[in-house]
């Protein structure tokens, strides 16, 4: 399998873009589906990804799976059109700005810095000149407001963690679905899926099972039902 350098990506779109470019593909739903496995493999391998970023990487992972499922199972998922087109469009736009950022990096790299004066260019005697309306009460009020704002800033990493944890739970659900799907018809399971997320979870589970060689998937024709057979049973 293609080896991904364990470098720090500036975000999930950056990773996705590099995977696509490494294979010399254009951005399309088909190419997104093609790199989905590598994308997931990267998420499995990389250890130093921060909690903040992991949440965003996982969001894109689910979108990728929706796209992949859409291409492989065109008859089951038709309301996912938007999500797939959205990621494709998002990635194209991101590419534009990422390329621009490389140009900006070069411009800065030329070190053609401009400078402005830091003090007023005028000789005058500094004199104590307090704001007329200011008093101690105003100061304590203002400080109180600053502290309130800080409360939010301090809680920020916590909020990100919570989001990541809920996404992690989803991944755990996949493992649970693994057993179930191994013994049943995949199409049946999909039919019962209540949300887009559940569809994705099921599909992810199926892909994992195939990868691990626990099941084989059979389909007679393009629009026929997909039969899942467990190899071990």
């Amino acid at each position: 399998m293609y080896q991904i350098k364990t470098e720090q990506f500036s975000g999930p779109l950056d990773l996705l873009l590099q995977l696509i470019e490494n294979q010399k593909l254009d951005i399309s739903q088909v190419s997104l589906a093609q790199v989905t496995d590598q994308y997931l493999a990267y998420l499995d391998e990389v250890k130093d990804i921060s909690a903040t970023e992991l949440a965003d990487f996982l969001v894109v992972a689910t979108k990728l799976l929706v796209i992949k499922s859409k291409i492989l199972l065109p008859q089951t998922i038709d309301e996912e059109e938007d999500s797939a087109e959205e990621l494709e469009a998002q990635l194209k736009i991101y590419k534009d700005y990422q390329e621009a950022s490389k140009i900006i990096e070069k411009i800065i790299g030329q070190k053609r810095f401009s400078f402005s004066r830091e003090r007023i260019a005028f000789q005058f005697e500094p004199a104590f000149s307090p704001p007329p309306q200011l008093n101690a009460k105003v100061l304590s009020d203002v400080f109180g407001e600053i502290l309130k704002r800080i409360e939010y800033v301090v809680s920020l990493p916590q909020k990100v963690m919570e989001r990541t944890v809920s996404l992690r739970e989803m991944v755990t659900n996949i493992r649970e679905h693994l057993r179930e799907i191994g013994k049943t018809n995949f199409y049946q399971v999909l039919k019962n899926a209540k949300s887009r997320t559940e569809v994705v979870v099921c599909f992810m589970a199926l892909l994992e099972l195939i990868k691990q060689g626990e099941v084989v998937v059979k389909q007679k024709g393009v629009f026929d039902e997909i039969m899942v057979e467990s190899i071990k049973s």
């Binding site: 700005y97 401009s114 920020l156």
Partner: protein
């Protein structure tokens, strides 16, 4: 003395960017007159292409040394400016430079990652500034003169492909789509 010359004097001595509004108030002159004089001044500085530049961000102006003198001025004032930026910072700054004033939500759609921490970091470094849009009740971010000085440009409009990246039609569509999902 002409309004143009007075503005030039003020921009020369000032240690901070001055807005059209501030200038109008200081000089007790109509906004329109200030705008016209500034447009003239801008043109002159551009044509002269001398050692002093007139920088512009939205309705604010500041004088600065030309990028070509960067090295010698840096040495003279013993500045420690390196222009070093991490990739995520660079990406965020690029998007804000081309599309500012821009909301956090919009920036995050383009970058695909949560940008709370990076925005805070750039605010503390003085490379971007935040402004409350009271009508829409959102915070808008734009680059500062300090970042413009990293680039050695007079205004963001001088960035390559500015027109295209400033108004990206695909993005407008995408943004609408995301708003719909969020609602």
């Amino acid at each position: 003395m002409s309004i143009e010359n007075q503005i030039e004097s003020l921009l020369f001595i000032s240690h901070k960017p001055l807005s059209i509004k501030e200038l109008a108030k200081l000089m007790s002159v109509e906004i329109e007159e200030i705008k016209n004089a500034l447009a003239e001044l801008e043109k002159k500085y551009e044509t002269r292409a001398g050692g002093i530049k007139l920088l512009k961000i939205d309705d604010k102006y500041q004088m600065a040394t030309a990028g070509d003198s960067g090295e010698i001025v840096k040495k003279f004032i013993k500045s420690e400016m390196t222009g070093e930026l991490t990739r995520p910072s660079l990406e965020a700054l690029t998007v804000i430079a081309y599309r500012g004033p821009i909301s956090k939500a919009e920036l995050e759609i383009i970058r695909g990652v949560n940008c709370s921490l990076i925005l805070r970091n750039l605010l503390m470094r003085g490379l971007i500034e935040a402004e409350e849009d009271k009508k829409k009740a959102v915070t808008a971010y734009r680059i500062t003169f300090d970042f413009l000085k990293y680039l050695g440009l007079s205004k963001v409009e001088e960035l390559p492909d500015f027109e295209k990246l400033n108004r990206n039609n695909n993005l407008e569509k995408l943004l609408q789509g995301v708003e719909n999902i969020n609602n």
